[in-house]
Subunit: 197 residues, 2 copies
């Protein structure tokens, strides 16, 4: 539809997740009009991210070297591991400074529909760490949805024989939320997990 | 929040229009996980678009050289010019093969709130073309909104002294639409522009 380079750019942008042909067109024209420096910096950031980002050999998180910032930090408790699906989940928890221990990134959740089975996740690496570091507690912080729950159940079953304490993040009403708008499943979980005051 | 290169990439992506911090994070992780070739091609397309895309000296559309495909094509009627706001508008009309003539891109619409006045648009270039090419008709295809209408009125006033025929795309009910959901302004325009059957 457009001349060479602009059509190429639109086509490449449209391959990004959640970017349709119309958004790709909007982004492409924005880039063409933007200062050359801005566009160059974006292109460089893409190349740099591919060249300089590795995955931590301990926890599987994104890292600038072969080991990530958290795993490098000897002040972090080795005996507490928080298991999440993706690096972004670890980042969310880390931002709130909630875990004094370390993370373990599974790399997704069990989802037969997407063809992701237990063998596609970094479960064996977790079992190895638990044994090697004499881990006391593993907190399963996979997403509170169907896939995340199935994954948590699977990982918990694998950890059981190792005698480690396995916990799961509580489900319930979000703080600041409205009882009126809570769905039935959340409500039933909140009731089930009620605590004495 | 993340280590160097991935945070850089998220920051750069978040500068794109319509891309918030969460989307930028999603795109960045997609790129990190994508095959190296895909990411490299996107980076290259951005650089290439900046280096190889120019604006046609005739109509102002994006072009690979100093003149665009349409203006280069001698079979296109020089005496009919369709005026649009942006290159993407010309592409939409061109895709439907509706205009046998040529285009003129204004580069936006008059919008005092955004600080865009008549002098920021390529109006003088249009007047020059109309005189030089003995243009018979100018079709004003700016957007059917406040800014587009104001721009059309301004351009029409400027063209008047040259004795050229000036037309505006019809406003009315969209084909396949539902009368029930038409807004009042569209309905009043449809009534005003009614045609005998």
């Amino acid at each position: 539809m457009y001349e060479g380079p602009i059509q190429d750019l639109i086509d490449e942008l449209a391959r990004l997740p959640g970017v349709g042909p119309k958004s790709a067109q909007r982004l492409a024209f924005w880039l063409v009009k933007a200062p050359a420096d801005d566009a160059r910096r974006l292109a460089q950031a893409i190349v740099q991210a591919k060249e300089r980002i590795f995955f931590c050999r301990e926890c599987g998180n994104v890292a600038e070297g072969d080991i990530c910032r958290v795993c490098k930090d000897e002040s972090r408790d080795r005996t507490l591991i928080c298991v999440v699906e993706e690096p972004k989940d670890a980042a969310t928890i880390e931002k709130a400074s909630l875990i004094k221990g370390r993370f373990h990134i599974l790399g997704g959740a069990i989802s037969p529909l997407d063809g992701i089975g237990p063998d596609d996740l970094r479960v064996q690496e977790l079992l190895d760490r638990v044994e090697r570091d004499h881990v006391i507690e593993v907190i399963l912080a996979t997403n509170p949805n169907l896939e995340g729950n199935a994954t948590a159940m699977y990982v918990a079953a694998m950890l059981k024989p190792l005698g480690v304490k396995v916990t799961r993040l509580a489900s319930g009403l979000p703080v600041g939320g409205d009882l009126e708008y809570a769905d039935e499943v959340t409500l039933s979980q909140a009731l089930e997990g009620r605590r004495e005051m």
